[in-house]
Amino acid sequence: MRDNHQSWGSYPKAYPQHVHPIRWRHEALPQTERTTSVLPYGNGRSYGDSCQNNGATLLTTHSLRRFISFDHDTGVLRCEGGVLLADILDNFVPQGWFLPVTPGTKHVSIGGAIANDVHGKNHHKAGTFGCHVRTVELLRSTGERITCSPHHHSELFRATIGGLGLTGLIVWADIQLKPITSPLIDKERIRFSGLDEFFDLSNQSNTSFEYTVGWIDCLANQQHTGRGVFIRGNHCADNAQSLTHIPRRTTLTVPFHLPSAVLHSGVIKIFNRVYYHLQPRQLTQARIPYEKFFYPLDTILHWNRLYGTRGFLQYQCVIPSRYEREGIRDLLSVIQQSQQGSFLAVIKTFGAIQSPGLLSFPKPGTTLALDFPFFGEQTLTLLTKLDSLVRETGGAVYPAKDAHMSSEDFQAYFPAWHKIEQLRDPKFSSSFWRRVTRLNTTPQHSTKSESYSLATEKEQAFAHHSLFNNMNQA
């Protein structure tokens, strides 16, 4: 019973009119009224409104969670769209198989991983999740089932990878898993004192390490800008380790939303400083279970409640290689000046492997991800500044984590959006899509502009309303 199908950032709040569970893969889509749209909802781990369909219907896939077949010779798994990455790990790590790409949480569905074309710490070696998807079955609102792959219905396939759930319901998919000999990761961590050092470490590590990522202190003063910790790792190659020997980690849960005072910028600044100084100066090595390496946040369930009821905004952008050094530095200095900080600022260089996805977010360059507690207008102003910096460099902002970017910015970041609009199932829409395309994507009236403004106005009024409430609380 997830919190009324809100998104992970609890901002903006959205209220679906209907929630319709899809439980079996042979089931048809619900017959909705002609004017309302539907949107698949995976596990709600997107931060903003890409998994929301305010006032319309969500198709939940929690029970669409079965494996279909597995080929032990090739490592190709066929499974339903609601299967979680955690289900795959639990079942296949003991058999010597791992996810080809994993985001920072394993509580993500296959449908969600494909629809946002998620990336992980091995982007420089493996590309995005979509690079490892062999086939998907799409259920369209006409009742048609289309099996797409790079060879059949390839345009629809490319529109579905990173397609934000708009091309139809992903009923099942074939995923290429990768062989491993141990559930352990050989991890190294190295403290760095500035951005140049980060980029040097990244360049040195990207050939010999499968996984690389950095954490940075985003509130450090001028001379320390960009200091942080570089983390890199490889799957342990020592096959004397038993595959099934995975020490269970206890999980804690945050039972309720914390008061927002905890998030005072001073607290965040101190947290960052202490965290940095706790890191040993020298390179350290450790052999650790994969869960500890990939999913440190998953040990605290509902950690998003730490941000209180008014929620938070995640911000993730990519700056193309040409401008990455200045671009990231500029972003950090704007953040530092604003004194709105993040507990966890993550930095990573993306590689050149191209995803088949038309709307895929990663591109060669450097990505920065931060979360900002929501303080109303000042937070939104900061994000607008960051957006324009990103736009100047020819970069992009990640839709999976966005609740704010303007339609102009979105369309500049993702010129292929027109193509998605053409291939979108006319019955499928989301709060995000209506916001960033400014189209009335409720079925039926796609040509009537008045009904468009009505729909968007309603959402805007709603967004303002919640903003107003939030500011009142603050």
């Binding site: 019973m1 079996w24 893969r25 042979h26 079965r66 494996f67 279909i68 077949s69 499974c79 079942n91």
Partner: protein, 244 residues
């Protein structure tokens, strides 16, 4: 482990099936919808089941039960355990107005189970070992105006199981009565969820455990035991005044 799961398309039963699959069990699944059965078959097979077979039949067709059970025994070679899980949450108001709906509900939730248990009881008695597990309900512990048709069916199943347990203990067969409280499954899709609702994963896993380590009657989750004890202890003259 060879297990026959009757009503295998139930959300709770699917979760129990997954646990057995992980241990490399052999499963025989019975339910009324072939497509659903096939989806579960694929899933448990990938999860590690050594063999998974299925039969589609409406369990209200009592004269098919003998055929189902003999086919399952024949296919798997022998049965170590059976789980009976099918059921429908009767609409009390419709039942009050319709004799035929009431009889239908009693057939689904009680008579079909009693018919299956009669055949299975003899099989396990002769075998001299094994576990018979049935999902009854806390609703069978006391009749209430809001759902006494369903409650009657479950109550009768609970009493039948008590008798069967009493009879089969001598032969080394264990009989498990599972009494879940509210569980979030399609059966309760239209009921507003509250803190008392458990997940089908949790209940499914508990059932797996209770089959592996034989128990008699188990409330799931555990807190229903004190709640039901309290509810049963209220004198009837007071209870009849309560509205729930």
């Amino acid at each position: 482990m060879n297990i026959l799961i009757i009503g295998a398309t139930s959300s709770i039963a699917q979760e129990t099936a997954k646990c057995f699959a992980l241990e490399g069990a052999r499963l025989y699944l019975a339910g009324r919808n072939l497509e659903k059965l096939q989806a579960i078959q694929g899933d448990v097979f990938v999860r590690g089941a050594k063999q998974v077979e299925a039969m589609a039949l409406d369990l209200c067709l009592l004269d098919q039960h003998e055929h189902l059970i003999t086919t399952a025994i024949h296919t798997l070679g022998r049965l170590d355990a059976v789980l009976i899980a099918h059921g429908t949450l009767s609409d009390q108001q419709i039942c009050e107005q319709s004799v035929s709906t009431t009889m239908q509900e009693l057939t689904t939730n009680c008579l079909s189970t009693i018919s299956l248990l009669t055949i299975l009881g003899n099989y396990f008695e002769e075998q001299g070992k094994g576990t018979i597990a049935v999902i009854s309900s806390v609703a069978g512990d006391r009749g209430r105006q809001s759902n006494y048709v369903y409650g009657t069916a479950k109550g009768a199943v609970t009493i039948f199981l008590q008798g069967l347990r009493n009879r089969l203990t001598q032969s080394g067969v264990s009989v498990l009565t599972v009494k879940p409280g509210f569980v979030d499954t399609p059966m309760t899709a239209y009921i507003r969820k509250n803190l008392l609702f458990a997940k089908s994963e949790t209940i499914g896993k508990h059932i797996h455990q209770a089959i592996k380590n034989p128990r008699d009657e188990v409330y799931m989750p555990w807190f229903w035991q004190p709640i039901m004890m309290l509810l049963r202890s209220i004198p009837e003259c007071m209870f009849k005044q309560l509205k729930f």
